[in-house]
Symmetry: C2
Amino acid sequence: MTMPVPLPAVTSVTRQLSRRSVFEALLHRSPISRADLAKVTGLSKQTMSEVIDAFGQQGLVRQVGRTSGNVGRTAVLYELSPEGGHVLGIDLGARRLTVALADIAGRVLAEADEPTDSRGGAWALDQIARLSDRLARDNHTHPSRIRSIVLATPGVVNPKSGAIEMAPNITGLGHLNVVGLLSEKLGNPVIIENDINLALLGEIWHGCAQNVANVAFLALGSGVGLGLYANGQLVRGENGAAGEIGYLPLGGDPLQAESRLQGCLEYQVGATGVLRRYREAGGSEVDSVIQVFERAQVGDPIASQVLDETARLTGLAAAAVIAMVDPQLIVLGGSVGARPDFADQVARVLLQLSPRPVEIRTSTLGRRAGVVGALSVALSRLHDAFFGVSELAAALPLPPPAHRTARQ
Amino acid sequence: MTMPVPLPAVTSVTRQLSRRSVFEALLHRSPISRADLAKVTGLSKQTMSEVIDAFGQQGLVRQVGRTSGNVGRTAVLYELSPEGGHVLGIDLGARRLTVALADIAGRVLAEADEPTDSRGGAWALDQIARLSDRLARDNHTHPSRIRSIVLATPGVVNPKSGAIEMAPNITGLGHLNVVGLLSEKLGNPVIIENDINLALLGEIWHGCAQNVANVAFLALGSGVGLGLYANGQLVRGENGAAGEIGYLPLGGDPLQAESRLQGCLEYQVGATGVLRRYREAGGSEVDSVIQVFERAQVGDPIASQVLDETARLTGLAAAAVIAMVDPQLIVLGGSVGARPDFADQVARVLLQLSPRPVEIRTSTLGRRAGVVGALSVALSRLHDAFFGVSELAAALPLPPPAHRTARQ
DNA sequence: TATTTATTCGGTCTATTGACGAATTAAACT
DNA sequence: AGTTTAATTCGTCAATAGACCGAATAAATA
């Protein structure tokens, strides 16, 4: 039942392209008959039968009944089989660890979460392995059949090495070779990506930013960060540090020591910044931004003013994003940013700032955004492993300025 | 001699891919023999002979002698023939019009420029047609054999419609259907792109930003603007307005009327802004930023202070760029930005601002950057028209969240 | 003579086309 | 009403064309 699916022993580029388009059609139109697949893909019925036979032998597709009621012979309907492969998405937050399992067709099979092991570091990695294993076994999937794993983590993830570079607020994570350790523990290669970037991809896949080619995800919670999606691609930056808008020179003197250290904007609108401003303005004793919101709601003028300023600065950051990358949509997320009342305030600020205001939405996936985004990347990578044509897809590079003229 | 080259009557995907890789090898390694081409591309000698024969019949390649001095039979050497096609790059500046001609191999054949017709609008378009025609004929190329034309223009170019949307400082250009009119006048489809974006691509192709995947081009001249290149792609934004950093909320009150109208940063560091600040600080009579630089050089403290402030604000803008998109390199361009003394000042400001300072260079192509970038885009488009595989290259889209379950 | 280049020939893989049998519904006829 | 016939659709078989490679062979040269 759980025979490992062999990687397709593909011979020619042509057949790989055929397989790819059949797979894509199955992904978006199943259940579907071979005849309809042939029409949709433009391939011949003959080729279609060959490809579907091969898919069946690899466990990629399965029959799901027949057509009926139409004139003519009935057709066998096919869909992608869960046997084809599974993917795992993991969101390692400072407070909460979430894991989700999906099959090759993108059907989310299960999701589980726990408080993150507060000892951090290696303990958290062990916890990930335990939770992932449990999730796989509960869904009758042997862990070894999970073919693609993506981990969402706070901090700056170097896109080349996969190292976590800026110390995240999970103890001792920066000093571990997370990719290596987790890959070993889980028995499969693991990809790491910044949690905000993955939350953005989550909203694009299953959330409030579907079918949009240019989006920004502005996360405001304990810290502030940005995810950028331009031309249908994630913008990571040279060192994976794109979107570190805590360092935007807004809301204070950027040359000040605190600004240089933790970032000028972060110093004002990060959770500790908000609490500090509330305290300095004479507010009563609180220890979370949520409590400041509660105070404001019961009429505390200091709390209101502190939050107004927070919204104003967030609006300035959004205006900077609009000026720089011209998104079609800005999604507000994070424990503070996703609050509708706060988002409304930011939108009002933006209306006064920007020559062409951009649509603002709040995250619809909330805390699940990261894990959903991790699933989407894991799924994309699985698809590419089976049906990728990346070596063909590269754009034709232009010739360098100096031409070799040597004869040989 | 000037038989129009027919578009390749390609049959199969496989052959198109072979043609593509042979073309790419010719682009980067000519002159080269068929045997070497076979080694480089991994294709068989047999296939190579077929492809080269086809290229020869289409006028895409030509022989350029034989090898000699080696043991064994001599080999015929081939290179791309200029007969294969020509491209035109045009930079329509407010002051100066530049046109350049290149062949399919990217060899720049000629370049010409004139002061832009000050009457603007339709007159400028006529001037473009005249200059382009002259350039083509002077190089023994019939204008109809130019297969790809790209125009660099100030203003926001809508990436979908090609319309020029923000009124540029060329009279009456915003109200014309520039794509339609120019395409008709030149007898070939014309692509329009923002001049700063093209200057950036120029520096990437032939200038100071070669082989860099993440670059920003910060242009400071009469206005201020930014070109963004991330993941090896130009970032245009949803409306082509990415990089309109004149609207960054830096250097003043962003709610002020002037800031909202022409942009907060632009109001300070644009040419009129610099001159206004110099005037308001009690500076003597000047009518160009260059003159302010000259005053500063001869010891005018007001001029120095105004320029310091300009560099400081430019540095803040650069810091914002770094925080948001994490480039590997920032290129400073424009009549003000490209000045080495100014760039040094900006770099010094940045050193105090940014946690990880980014390399700063000044434009090496200067005024030619725009036209070179236009050539590079025109060339890319020509190559794609012949050898593009964009329909194959698209990433496999993920399935939508809701699955159809209807039987048919 | 040894080596390298280029061509020819045969074999394999893949996709398409057209013909055909199988399965089903709709229509027509006794 | 029950049966036969026609129409339609699905899927397979066989033939053919395009494209690739490898081996053998001819040609040219240090």
